[in-house]
């Protein structure tokens, strides 16, 4: 049969020759190998000083976007929750009152919107399902917590702040996605 790699070796248990029984040549060979490794370039990334570059398609913590006037895009249609294979998303829809037009873009909005980050598998299907360009995955990481319930992120953590919008263009402009 044709071998899959070029490292195929025929194993045999024939008695060792004198040179093999000395073991010293094998030891010197091993030491040569380790010496070569000593001179190699280190591949370590020294974390706090250097950070690994994320791939542009990296799917990290979610963000609920606002539009250019600072209104929340989400209309609580629930398509993201339906699309979610891990059932990590829950929401309660609410009706926009008079005087809240500067807060919510459409008449319906999410009163409560929660993602359980422990359930989430960061597949990005919520982002694909969203018809309102409200939810996106970013290159941010979900920080560690001590309690399990601290991983259930509400709107306080998910909605971007008006003053510091989250940039999502890098991920959106990769691949052959068609612009909507």
């Amino acid at each position: 049969m044709e071998s899959l790699t070029n490292r195929k070796k025929v194993v045999s248990d024939k008695p060792m020759t004198f040179m093999e029984e000395l073991y010293l040549p094998a030891i010197f060979h091993g030491m040569k190998v380790t010496f070569k490794h000593m001179l190699q370039k280190r591949k370590t990334i020294k974390y706090p000083e250097e950070t690994r570059v994320f791939a542009p398609v990296y799917r990290g913590m979610h963000v609920l976007k606002r539009d250019e006037k600072g209104r929340e895009n989400c209309t609580a249609c629930g398509l993201c929750a339906v699309a979610c294979p891990a059932e990590a998303i829950t929401m309660i829809a609410g009706e926009r009152k008079k005087g809240e037009e500067n807060l919510y873009r459409e008449e319906k909005y999410a009163e409560m919107y929660e993602i359980n980050m422990l359930r989430c598998i960061f597949c990005g299907l919520c982002e694909e399902a969203c018809p309102k360009e409200a939810i996106f995955l970013t290159d941010r990481l979900v920080p560690t917590e001590f309690e399990r319930d601290e991983f259930i992120y509400g709107k306080d953590k998910l909605v971007e702040s008006i003053d510091f919008p989250i940039d999502i263009t890098k991920r959106q402009h990769t691949g052959n996605r068609t612009e909507k």
């Binding site: 030891i27 030491m31 380790t34 010496f35 000593m38 280190r42 591949k43 370590t44 020294k46």
Partner: protein, 346 residues
């Protein structure tokens, strides 16, 4: 007694003590660095530039740990165990000739604490005692792993001391003296014993690895089988002393190998220098030889896996001792023929 001599020797002892400790401390750092490099890692680099303050950080950590003595341990022996280990690995340095004579303040200072005419015997005596630290510590811990470690250490020491002794006798035959100074002076210039006795060198080197409990002979303290072996129950600076004594022993072993086989402080072209220049050069040469051997010790540790215990015994009794004996016999015959002792018979 000459006061000057007393001061001179005291200062020398102090300096050697500090150097041994300092080198032992930095060996831990270098060992970790080298291990990292061999394994394509970076190694400790947080404490100070390139991590050079790591030994200090380790030492402080050791001191701040809880000093725990197990309930069923033999308290007295438990405490003196690490002391004996450290003591024996330090006192070997007394007979090492570090360099040629130094002229200072109108005095000729011999860079050797004590020039015994039976230096090698002293060396082997101390080496034999050095296992007591491990044995007592392991036994006093009242822990099966520690006891296994201690038993292994003593049987290993007994097995390898024989081959080591026989190869040392070969060198004694060659030099005609038991004094380390004479042995070094016999190897003046480039007449190093390693060129005359390569087999003996290999045997002695392997035995030194075994005597210092270094990998691949680190069976007394193998981390994965015996959870640290004889020092399983030790904590705080007692553990620190055990680890430290191992590194000191390694430093001293490297020094002894360089004395016996690499000509100690001798280097080619040393006749062109004299006085203090020669003394300092010889010191530098000697220490670079020591560091070379320390490097090789560590390099071997991170290359070769540990022996199984029966393999260790096989190597010691069935390979090294016969090889050393045959080598001794051949050396003796060659020397006696050269000396003309058989002339009347032939």
């Amino acid at each position: 007694m000459d006061t000057g001599l007393l001061i001179e020797k005291s200062v020398l002892v102090l300096i050697i003590f500090l150097i041994s400790l300092g080198i032992a401390a930095y060996q831990t750092y270098f060992e970790r660095k080298l291990a990292a490099w061999i394994q394509d890692r970076v190694g400790p680099d947080r404490a100070g530039p390139f991590g050079i303050l790591q030994p200090i950080a380790d030492g402080v950590k050791m001191f701040l740990k809880e000093d725990f003595i197990p309930k069923d341990a033999d308290k007295w022996l438990f405490i003196i165990g690490p002391g004996i280990a450290m003591f024996t690995s330090l006192i070997t340095s007394a007979i090492i000739p570090w360099g040629t004579d130094l002229e200072l303040f109108g005095r000729t200072i011999t860079l050797q604490v004590a020039d015994f005419d039976i230096g090698i015997l002293y060396l082997f005596a101390v080496l034999s005692i050095s296992v007591y630290g491990i044995m007592i510590g392991g036994w006093a811990s009242n822990n099966k792993y520690s006891l296994y470690g201690a038993i292994r250490a003593s049987s290993q020491m007994i097995s390898y001391e024989l081959a080591m002794g026989v190869s040392a006798i070969t060198i004694i035959l060659l030099s005609g003296s038991l004094s380390l100074t004479d042995i070094v002076n016999k190897q003046h210039g480039m007449n190093w014993n390693i060129f005359y006795q390569p087999v003996c060198f290999i045997v002695f080197f392997i035995c030194s690895l075994a005597e210092t409990n270094r990998a691949p002979f680190d069976l007394p303290e193998c981390e994965n089988e015996l959870i640290g072996g004889y020092h399983t129950e030790y904590s705080s600076m007692k553990l620190g002393l055990y680890l430290f004594s191992e590194y000191t022993a390694m430093f001293i072993s490297a020094a002894i190998i360089s004395i016996l086989f690499l000509g100690g402080y001798n280097f080619p072209g040393m006749d062109n220098f004299s006085g203090n220049t020669l003394a300092i050069l010889s010191l530098v040469v000697f220490f670079s030889k020591i560091f070379l051997f320390i490097f090789i010790f560590m390099w071997i540790r991170w290359t070769i896996p540990r022996f199984r215990f029966d393999q260790l015994m096989h190597l010691g009794w069935k390979v090294l001792i016969p090889v050393a004996l045959v080598n001794l016999l051949i050396t003796a015959i060659v020397i006696s023929i050269n000396e003309g002792w058989f002339n009347e018979l032939m």
